[in-house]
Symmetry: C2
Subunit: 171 residues, 2 copies
DNA sequence: TTGATTGCAAAGCATTTGCATGCTA
DNA sequence: TAGCATGCAAATGCTTTGCAATCAA
């Protein structure tokens, strides 16, 4: 069971490596492994520290370059939430989705709307565009942060903000 | 006629300046004036060069800071198109809209969809979010670039690409 | 006169690249 | 063995800040 985990993803990665005339290395294997087992939005930096715990000899640059590689291979997707950092999320076998971001605590909610997708296609067609991809992000206060705001005596329920939105751009 | 141009915007700016205990300066007036008369998506750098032509003594920093000020005053809005630069567009008296960006020539089309807006509100509500703003961007090939791609012998119709999309992030 | 504003230079920050060394295929 | 991969350090590119001089109120 454990051994078969992420079998398909690893296969895709190797295939991509080979097709591109690249080489399989221990670092790439490790980075991919850790990326896959972490179901979260990670920056190159975040992933770097996770990798460090397993193998301190791996450098920043390699993690950075491997994430680019994973993106090319279709296993990862780059996302931005407005804090000027690039996050990576799983892409293979994950349905397309958009993001709802709490500007207070940084919580990220993924959602999908068939209707919005359809409307987008329609609009693009009206303007004669052949769409390749899109990005829809919505910022606001999540329900918990609304409650905290209403009652300042309450204490946040733990969890450090993941995304610290300094000044939100992209609106 | 000419004298009355952007009267309202300038009023808003002065009001904002005063309320915040700031000061009116020749530089700020000039930068605002040039920003307002340029109906386009500008970076701080772009605007800096336009301002230079009128008054070479104005520095980069002042343009940068004034754009922030205009944004606070509600006269400008920051936007990003995926080339990691911050663009500014007019905000006052401009209906909210989203963007369609050509990944080839950088053309930017603004559009608005009541239906999408409504669906967004609905989704946010479902997740208990109190929305403050959102960003919807769609990338693809505009009709002209599709034609050029189909027939490589054609020559582009002029106009330098404004946005050079190196690697698109935010999808 | 007071304190905001300006513009230069320099710092920040995330991201990229150059290059000598190490390692797959 | 050839040449891709690695990791360090340094470069990049845009954004932001420190500071002394300047200027609006």
């Amino acid at each position: 069971m454990k051994a078969k985990k992420f079998e398909k993803e690893k296969e895709i990665f190797l295939e991509h490596i080979q097709k591109a005339g690249l080489r399989r290395t221990a670092q790439r294997d490790l980075i991919l492994e850790i990326f896959l087992k972490t179901e979260d939005h990670l920056t190159s930096e975040d992933l770097y520290w996770l990798v460090q715990k397993e193998d301190p000899s791996v450098g920043h640059t390699t993690v950075y370059r491997t994430l680019k590689l994973l993106t090319e291979a279709g296993l990862a997707r780059e996302v931005r939430f407005g804090d000027n950092k690039t996050y990576y999320e799983h892409h293979y076998d994950h349905q397309h989705h958009d993001h709802l971001i709490c500007t207070q605590c940084g919580k990220v909610v993924e959602f999908f709307s068939e209707e919005i997708e359809n409307l987008q296609d329609e609009i693009a067609e009206n303007f004669g565009f052949r769409l390749s991809h899109h990005s829809l992000r919505m910022w606001g206060l999540c329900s918990e942060c609304q409650r905290l705001q209403a009652d300042p005596n309450l204490v946040p329920s733990g969890a450090q903000p993941k995304v610290r939105v300094k000044s939100v751009v992209g609106t």
